[in-house]
Each structure stands twice: as structure tokens, then as C-alpha cells.
């Protein structure tokens, strides 16, 4: 990392920035969490989140290490289509808009995505779904914790283990203090920081390098990045679209927001967030294309963004990227901590271990689950497992298998439990096979296709006749005996 050494932040400045923003996030979390100790307030922010905060939280959560660090990485590997492919991740947000409205209508008192799968498809599908969902959540948590450690180390020289520990513990602290209300409140501020930061960096890159020089340098040194027919890049484009769909459709991060948004807000909030999100991966990823023009030697693909910023802006660039990525990581890490804790609390603790737990017991347990999940994430982040994109795309095979069971389950009464179980199971297995035999860029594609065929085929062979009224609020709020038997 010799290149970074010339422009790295002084560790003291790094610590000051970390301390300042950590204090800000924790203070917002504490302030928003005051007087809202009830379980529903902690988990779902009182179910009255408005359009502005709803849009910002959906957007901030979806702008994560993907867009700030892995998007430049993908652009450096797959070029123009890599950037555009990343922006297709927004399709997940856009298509979740009608689902969010449907979810709120069918389950006005629901808590988690697990609630839906349990009541819609029964215990086997529920447990398989929980395995997939929790595995994905952990993969995402680890990728963000790692990204935090990598960034802090690269920019300040602070050891990976220490930087990662700081980011994870700060997110745990304010999530613990204010629950989803703290998460959504900090998300709004973080969204503004992220968008302004990446926009500023893009304008600087455009101004300093210019499109002609940038194009010429890429064409000379990495012509494949401008190839509009690069097969791997085109596969990546569609794969990323389906990966994004799978991530959003199944994950409790998005379901918990659908439950938390005020009535009528889910649809416009997700739609607006999706539209605003489209340009972000292009803006964040495009800086990778200035690497040849800047004559940068990139030692690790996931360090492209920070290196370009540091080259363009010196120490100020390092500070800017540091703040932006810290905000992006925190906005996603906190959301995932809160939503995964909800899933663990409602579907694992209450659903499997303590069906008769009182609201007070659940409220106490909710805090312990947040702490426990934070510690677990921290422990898994300690060894740096691989590059960010590799880790992230490994989970693609898992989440894409849930697209059709979820979408069909919400709108199509004929979709049945056998199709959902088979779709998730075989979609995941064949998606993983594609990941290892072909490449990361087809895992979600294969998984979603297999799952679709099985869900559709099962419904044709033995059509279900699901009554939407079975997603009754009374049964939604507490797992019923027969469902978990």
C-alpha cells in the first residue's frame, strides 16, 4: 500500500473523525430513543414513519459498501456495464414498492418477513427461509464490518481489527439506544452525507481528468472496460438485477420498513428511493475509470475509490471518502442489525424458544439480541475473509431463490408450500453450483430461474387456494401453536 502511504490521513485525524461522527450517531440514537421503550416502538418506530424519512432510510440502507467501495471495484473489473449493472440494483427497490403496499394491507400488525413465510407456507418453508435470510444477513454484516476495517486501515493506518471494532460497536450502541427510530433518524443524515460526498468526488474527477483523457487512457491500458459486448459484464448486469431483487424481496430489512412506514407511505417511499438510487452506483463506480488516466497502481481492487479520492484531493479526499463510507457503512450496518435482531427475536427466540414470552420479556430480549448479534458479527469480521464483492456475491445464490416464493406468495393464491420449499432449496443449490462452476456473475441468475420454474410448476401440478385473511393481524403478531409445532 505504498501509494496510499503518501496520502494517508494522520491517525490522529482519523480518530478525530471517527470520534466526532460516532458521538453524533450515538447522540441522535439516544435522543430519538427517549421515551420509546415499548417493543413496537423499538422494533418498528411506532409504525408511523413519514415519506421523507422513509425514502431516506430505504435509500441509505441500499447505499452500502456495495456502492461506495465495491461499485468502483466492479467498474474496474467489468467496465461501463459494471457501473450500469450496479445501478440496476435499484430495480429491487422500485419493484418492492407495490410489495410494500401489499404487505402493509395484508399484515398491518406484522413484525417480520418470517411472519409472512410462516403463515403463508408453513413451518418447513419458514425454517428454510430463516436459514437463507440469516445467512445472507450475516454475509452482509460481515462485508460491511470488513469494509469499515479496510477503509480505516487504508486511510489512516489504524489497524483493521481496531477500526472494524469501532464501527461495529458504534452501530450496536445507537441501535441499542433508539431501535429502528434511531436507525431511521441517522439514515436521513447519512443519506445526505453519502450523496453529497460521491457527487462531489465525481464532479472533481470530471473536472480534473475530463472525459476525453479518461476515455483515451482506458482505451490504451484497459480497453476491455469500454467493451459494450463483454459477455461477463452483460451477465453481471442481469445477475445484479436479480440479486438486488432477491436481497430486497426476502430481507427483513425491507419488510420491517414496510411495517414501520405510515399507511400509504410504503409505495411512494420505495419508488422515490429507487429512482434516487439509480445514479449512485454510476457516480461512485465511475471513479474507477479514471485509474488509468491518473496512472494509479491499485494493489487491492476494493481500494479503488479511496485511492482515486486521495489522488484527486490529497488529504481532503481521504477525509471525504472516509466520512462518506463511514456513513454508508453505518446506515446499512445499523439497519441490518435492527432487522436481523427482529428476525432473531420474533422468529427464533419467540417462534422456537419462548412462544409464551410476555411483551416485557421480548422488549428486554430485543436489546440482548442486538448486543449478541453485534458481538457475533465482530467475531466473524476479525479474519478478513476475501474481497467485498466476492463475499457479497456468494450470497446471491441464496437470496435469489426467495424472489418467486415471496412475490408469488403475496399476490398468487395458487402458490403453494411445496413450490416455495423446492424453489428455495434447489434454487440455492443450483445457484451455488453455477457460482463455483461458471462464476459469481451467474449465481443469482440460475438460482432465480430454477426457483421460478419450481414455484410455477408446483402451483400448476397442485394449485393452492390460500385465503388472504389467514394473514390475520391477530395471528401475525404471535406465532401460533400449530405453525411452530
Amino acid at each position: 500500500m505504498a501509494e496510499m502511504g503518501e496520502v494517508a490521513l494522520d491517525p490522529t485525524i482519523g480518530w478525530l473523525i471517527l470520534a466526532a461522527f460516532s458521538v453524533l450517531w450515538v447522540a441522535i440514537g439516544w435522543w430519538l430513543g427517549r421515551g420509546h421503550g415499548e417493543l413496537e416502538d423499538f422494533m418498528l418506530a411506532g409504525r408511523k414513519v413519514g415519506l421523507a424519512l422513509g425514502t431516506a432510510t430505504a435509500m441509505a440502507t441500499w447505499v452500502t459498501s456495495n456502492t461506495t467501495m465495491a461499485a468502483p471495484q466492479v467498474a474496474l473489473q467489468l467496465g461501463l456495464w459494471g457501473m450500469v449493472g450496479y445501478s440496476l440494483g435499484s430495480v429491487g427497490l422500485l419493484l418492492f414498492a407495490p410489495l410494500a403496499r401489499r404487505i402493509r394491507e395484508l399484515m398491518p400488525h406484522g413484525f417480520t418477513s418470517g411472519d409472512f413465510v410462516r403463515m403463508r407456507y408453513g413451518p418447513t418453508a419458514w425454517r428454510l427461509f430463516l436459514l437463507i435470510s440469516l445467512f445472507y444477513a450475516l454475509g452482509w454484516l460481515i462485508s460491511m464490518g470488513m469494509a469499515g476495517g479496510v477503509l480505516i486501515h487504508a486511510l489512516t493506518g489504524i489497524r483493521y481489527e481496531i477500526g472494524m471494532s469501532v464501527i461495529v460497536s458504534i452501530c450496536v450502541a445507537y441501535t441499542l439506544l433508539g431501535g429502528l427510530r434511531a436507525v431511521i433518524g441517522t439514515d436521513f443524515v447519512q443519506t445526505l452525507i453519502i450523496i453529497l460526498g460521491v457527487s462531489l468526488l465525481a464532479w472533481l474527477a470530471i473536472g480534473r481528468v475530463g472525459f476525453e483523457d479518461m476515455h483515451e487512457a482506458v482505451l490504451r491500458e484497459r480497453p476491455e472496460l469500454l467493451n459494450l459486448l463483454m459477455p461477463a459484464a452483460i451477465m453481471f448486469l442481469f445477475n445484479n438485477l436479480l440479486f438486488g431483487l432477491g436481497e430486497i424481496f426476502h430481507s427483513n430489512v425491507w419488510w420491517s420498513r414496510a411495517f414501520a412506514f405510515r399507511e400509504g407511505v410504503g409505495f411512494p417511499a420505495y419508488l422515490t428511493a429507487g429512482l434516487l438510487w439509480i445514479p449512485i452506483p454510476i457516480v461512485a463506480g465511475f471513479v474507477a475509470l479514471v485509474v488509468p488516466a491518473l496512472d494509479l497502481n491499485v494493489p487491492a481492487a476494493d481500494m479503488v475509490g479511496p485511492m482515486v479520492a486521495a489522488k484527486l484531493l490529497g488529504s481532503a479526499g481521504a477525509v471525504l471518502v472516509f466520512i462518506v463510507v463511514f456513513a454508508a457503512l453505518a446506515s446499512s450496518l445499523d439497519s441490518l442489525l435492527a432487522a436481523t435482531s427482529d428476525l432473531l427475536l420474533t422468529d427464533v427466540y419467540q417462534g422456537h424458544l419462548r412462544p409464551d414470552a410476555t411483551p416485557e420479556q421480548l422488549s428486554r430480549a430485543a436489546r440482548w439480541v442486538v448486543v449478541g448479534l453485534g458481538v457475533f458479527t465482530w467475531a466473524l469480521c476479525m479474519p478478513r475473509l476475501g474481497t467485498l464483492a466476492e463475499l457479497l456475491y456468494f450470497t446471491g445464490a441464496f437470496v435469489a431463490s426467495t424472489i418467486w416464493p415471496i412475490a408469488a406468495g403475496l399476490f398468487w393464491p395458487r402458490a403453494n408450500a411445496a413450490g416455495a420449499v423446492g424453489g428455495m432449496l434447489f434454487g440455492t443449490l443450483l445457484g451455488l453450483a453455477a457460482y463455483f462452476w461458471i462464476g459469481f456473475y451467474v449465481a443469482a441468475l440460475v438460482s432465480a430461474f430454477v426457483s421460478m420454474v419450481i414455484v410455477w410448476g408446483a402451483a400448476r401440478i397442485r394449485p393452492g387456494a390460500f385465503r388472504w385473511s389467514d394473514l390475520d393481524p391477530e395471528r401475525t403478531s404471535r406465532p401460533s401453536e400449530e405453525a411452530i409445532a
Binding site: 408511523k48 457501473m83 482505451l219
Partner: protein, 40 residues
């Protein structure tokens, strides 16, 4: 088939302008919700 400088320019400029305007829209929505008492 290679992307031309103009294609690169259009894609990146449109995205950057849209991203730059996004915080303004969020701020407007925030003020509107706050005035109506519908932030939370």
C-alpha cells in the same frame, strides 16, 4: 463494440446531475413532512 467518449460522457453526466439534485428533493420532502407533523 467500444463505448465512445460521448456515451461515457452522457451516462456519467446524467447520473452525476441526478445524484447532485437528490439531497434537494429529500430536504423538500423533510420540510413538507415536518410542517404537516408527519415525520414520525
Amino acid at each position: 463494440m467500444t463505448a465512445s467518449p460521448d456515451l461515457l460522457r452522457v451516462v456519467v453526466l446524467v447520473a452525476t446531475i441526478a445524484a447532485t439534485l437528490a439531497p434537494l428533493l429529500l430536504a423538500v420532502l423533510f420540510v413538507r413532512d415536518a410542517r404537516r407533523g408527519r415525520l414520525w
